[in-house]
Amino acid sequence: MHLRIHSQTEKLNLVREFIGEAAREHGFDEEAVGKIMLAVDEACTNIIKHAYGYAPDRTIDLEIQIAGDRFDIVITHSGKSFDPTAVRKPDMQEYFKKYQRGGLGIHLMRTLMDGVEYEALPDSRNLVRMYKYLPHEDRKQR
C-alpha cells in the first residue's frame, strides 16, 4: 500500500486511516493498530512542522513493506534532513519540572514501535523507516 499526501496537518487524519487499514490487514489488534497510528502521526507531524516548516505544497510518501516477520512503514520526504534516531530520550522528571512542551514526538515513536531507522537518500530525499513485528498469527499464515 502507498499514500502520497501534501504536507498539511489536515492530512493527518487520512494518514492514520491509511496506516490503520494497512495494520489491520496484517492482523494487528486494535491496541497495536492505535500505537502504530500514533507513531506514524508523530513522524508525519515532525516532517510537516520541522522538515518542511509548514510549507503546504510539498509531498510526503508512506509505503507499507512486509519484510519477513516485520511490518515496515517507510516514510520519505524531501525536506530538511534530520536523523530522529540521534535525539536523546527526554528526562521526564526535568520535563515536568520545567513545564516544557513539545519534544515528546520522537520519544513516542521509539516507545511505540519496535524500531525506527533513518537514511539520507540521493537527491536530498530522506527516509524514515519504522517497524513492528507482525503478530504471530499473521506470520504463520504467510
Binding site: T9, N13, R16, D41, T45, M92, R101, L104, H107, L108
Partner: protein
Amino acid sequence: MSTFKIQVRESSGINILELKGYLDAHTAPELEKAFQGLLDTKKFNIIVNCRDLTYISSAGLGVFMAYIEDVRKNQGDIKLSNMSPKVYNVFDLLGFPLLYDITTDEAEAMTKFKGGK
C-alpha cells in the same frame, strides 16, 4: 470535515471543557484557543472531560503543558476526567499522571476542586 470539537460549560464555578474526536497537530490550536479564552477571563478551575476524546498525539499533550503552570500559579488546576483506556495509555506512557490529576469521572474532579485540592 471537523475531526475535533470542544464544548465549554460552567457548573458551580468550575469550567468544563468537553473534548470530542481527534486531538492532533491539526486540531490542537482549537484547544489552545479554548484554554486561552478561560485564562483571559481569569477562569482557573478547569476540568477537561475526555469521554468523547478518541485520540491524542503529542501535539495535544503539549497544549496541557502550555497552560498548567499559569493555571496553578493562579491557585487553579487542570483536572482531566473520563479518559478511555486508549487515551489514558498515551498519557501514562509518558508519565503525565505524575503532573496531572486524572480522575475517573467529572464528579470526582468536582469534589476535589471543592475540597480545596
